[in-house]
Amino acid sequence: MADHNDRRIIDSLESGLLWFDTDLRIIDANRAAREVLGLGPGPLGVRIADLGWVQHDPHGAVIPEEQRPVWRALNGQGETTSGTVVVQTPSHGERWLRVRAVPVDSLGDGMPRGAVVSFTDFTSEHRAVEAARESEQLFRMFGDHALDLIWIVDPRSSKLLYMNSAYERIWGRPAAPLYEDLTHWLDGIHPEDQERVAAAALQTNASGMYETEYRMTRPDGRLVWIRGRGFPLFGADGRMRYMAGFAEDITLARTNEALEHAHRVAQERLERIVATAPGAVNSYCQDSEGRGRFTFASPAIRELLGVDAATLVARGIDLLDLVHADDRAMVAETLRASAELGSAWLATFRVPHTASGERCLEAHSMPVRESEGGVVWHGFLIDITERRRAEQEIRSLNIDLERRVAERTSELEAKHREMESFTYSVSHDLKAPLRGIDGYSRLLESDHVDRLDEEGRFFVAMIRKATAHMGDLIDDLLAYSRVERGRPKLGPVAAGPVVASVVDGVAAETAAGAIALRSEVEPGLSVLGERDGLVLALRNLLDNAIKFTAGRPDRAIDIGAHRSQGQVLFWVRDNGPGFDMRYHDRIFEIFQRLHRAEEFPGTGVGLAIVRKAVERMHGKVWAESAKGQGATFYVQLPAAQPANL
């Protein structure tokens, strides 16, 4: 079949060669084929079926005879057939072969007289691939059991190469989109942390390891704290091949840390409050038998009880033993009542022996019942010694002040009685001689007129006129002093009836004097005042108007009242001679007159009475006039609130 040189070439090939006849007998094989398949160096001619080989495809299925490349080559199905065949040899085990079969037409008539099969043995490559696959599987299984996220990225393409299932568990998101586009990595990371996380990843690319903590919000809304670590993986050549890293859920640790921090802050705050609180914070408890002791006391208690806090607690000293003997029963009773009702314990008591002597303390505590039948009061004690002393001082000052007020009041009352008795005397004693003067001059006039000449009669008339004026003066003075008598009793007074009664009172005079008197009161008006005082004021104003219009042919007087800015304004207007406004303030003063007696009679008391009566009711009185223009007098009083009616 081949000469000696050819044979050497054939045997030097790495590929195996087998020659088959039409009966599928192996009639020759080169060195490579013999070695791979364990055929030995001897003559061949053995049928392949007798070799005991099991042939199957890469998936492990047995290849039926008519599917094998050599059979197909001998049976004229195509020029060259090929395939991958796994041969199980008794001596050399399983061999993975890539096979090509070519029919041999030695006579040139198109009929195959045999076939040449060439193959390459890739068993060892196949085994290496298998081993790698198994190793990766192992790695994946291992990774999926890890609690932390594990990832590997190809830094050149920025493609995610691997990520374990922890991503889906911690992030609550599918991992698939990350394989498409690694920037989805930032999905869910807290907006405030995104920049920092991205910067950390970049830094890793540049220089190696990083570690960072950040927040991430899961699609279900839960906030998760993540600690991420990244690092480069280098190839044998020292160049970076991969970026890899871990990420763990540190929410619990973070939360615990936050809680511990909050607790520490609260504790510190509480300690500071206790230290700076006024008085002494304390917990005082009584067991079921009523034995008391302190379980806690702030340092300030030393000044209040005379015992330092540590000793107080360590020795189990009872508060009741420190309280003043006279207050002990009261303190015990208030504690008992507080425990029974569950209400705050408030008590004031004395503690006799402290560094600064006896102190007066005030207790504020809330009781809490304990399971063993005892009660604990949590609260504070305050030193009120100074406050007590100040209160006592104020009390004694008040007593002194009240005594002095009473003294002054009785002095004033005595003065007032003196004043009353004075006016009484004025009334009685001054009038008695007047009555004599008037009586006897009248008798002189009536019984002895024949003995008087005209001048004498004139003198007698003048004596009587002066006497009458003196009587008027005394009466007016008494009326003026009477206005002040007693405290005003202010109440609602209806304006309409008052004006009507005052108008009625002068009806005879207005009729006699042909005076046109008009009154005009807004309906429903009420003032806050005294009826008598208001009548007195309006009556005097009206009398005044009547007096000053005397001697005119067209005497006209208006009286009325209307509401004005929450007040009630009364007015009395006349068309008399009026007065110069320069004298406005003088006309309300007692004994001040703007007219001579022969013009208009009067004592100068009427308007003073008006002012006094109005001011007693907290009102105002004033006038508007001009000489020859008549005068209008106003009285303004507060309107009565509807509630006062």
């Binding site: 009353e420 006016t423 009484y424 009334s427 009685h428 009038k431 008695a432 001689p433 007047l434 009555r435 004599g436 008037d438 009586g439 006897y440 009248r442 008798l443 006497t467 009458a468 003196m470 009587g471 008494l478 009477r482």
Partner: protein, 140 residues
């Protein structure tokens, strides 16, 4: 029927006594005007009335009196089982509200303020005469 029993004037001012007498005379009042010059003297009359002296038709009483005040005289008169029936007219210069109220509280029958003018005083005398001596039906 005119009552001709006396009128008792309790008045300390002699000028007022004289003028009262003259005023009564001007009105032709014929009742005898008996005079007590102070409160004590006025109270002395009680014993005389108890002894059978005729009771006055009216007592004109000033309030401001030496020794015993007019109000005290009034109180004792009105507290007396017999004398309480004698009408008492307070005739005074005081128009103090307190005096008026006290006098009425003690049971005074009338309260008149003495006018300064003699004519008015004559009118008052006439009214007293008319009301107490002529028209009033006496209890005793």
């Amino acid at each position: 029927m005119e009552d001709r029993r006396p009128i008792l004037l309790v008045e300390d001012n002699p000028m007022d006594v004289d003028l009262t007498q003259r005023a009564f005379a001007k009105r032709h009042i014929v009742n005898v005007l008996e005079v007590a010059r102070d409160g004590e003297e006025a109270l002395d009359w009680i014993a005389r009335w108890e002894a059978g002296h005729p009771l006055p038709v009216v007592i004109l009483l000033d309030l401001k009196l030496p020794r015993v005040s007019g109000l005290e005289v009034l109180r004792q008169l009105k507290a007396h089982p017999e004398c309480c029936r004698i009408p008492v007219v307070v005739l005074t210069t005081s128009r103090e509200d307190g005096d008026v109220a006290a006098a009425y509280a003690l049971g005074v029958n009338s309260y008149i303020v003495k006018p300064v003018e003699f004519e008015k005083f004559i009118d008052v005398a006439a009214q007293i005469d008319l009301y107490w001596c002529v028209l009033n039906q006496q209890a005793v």
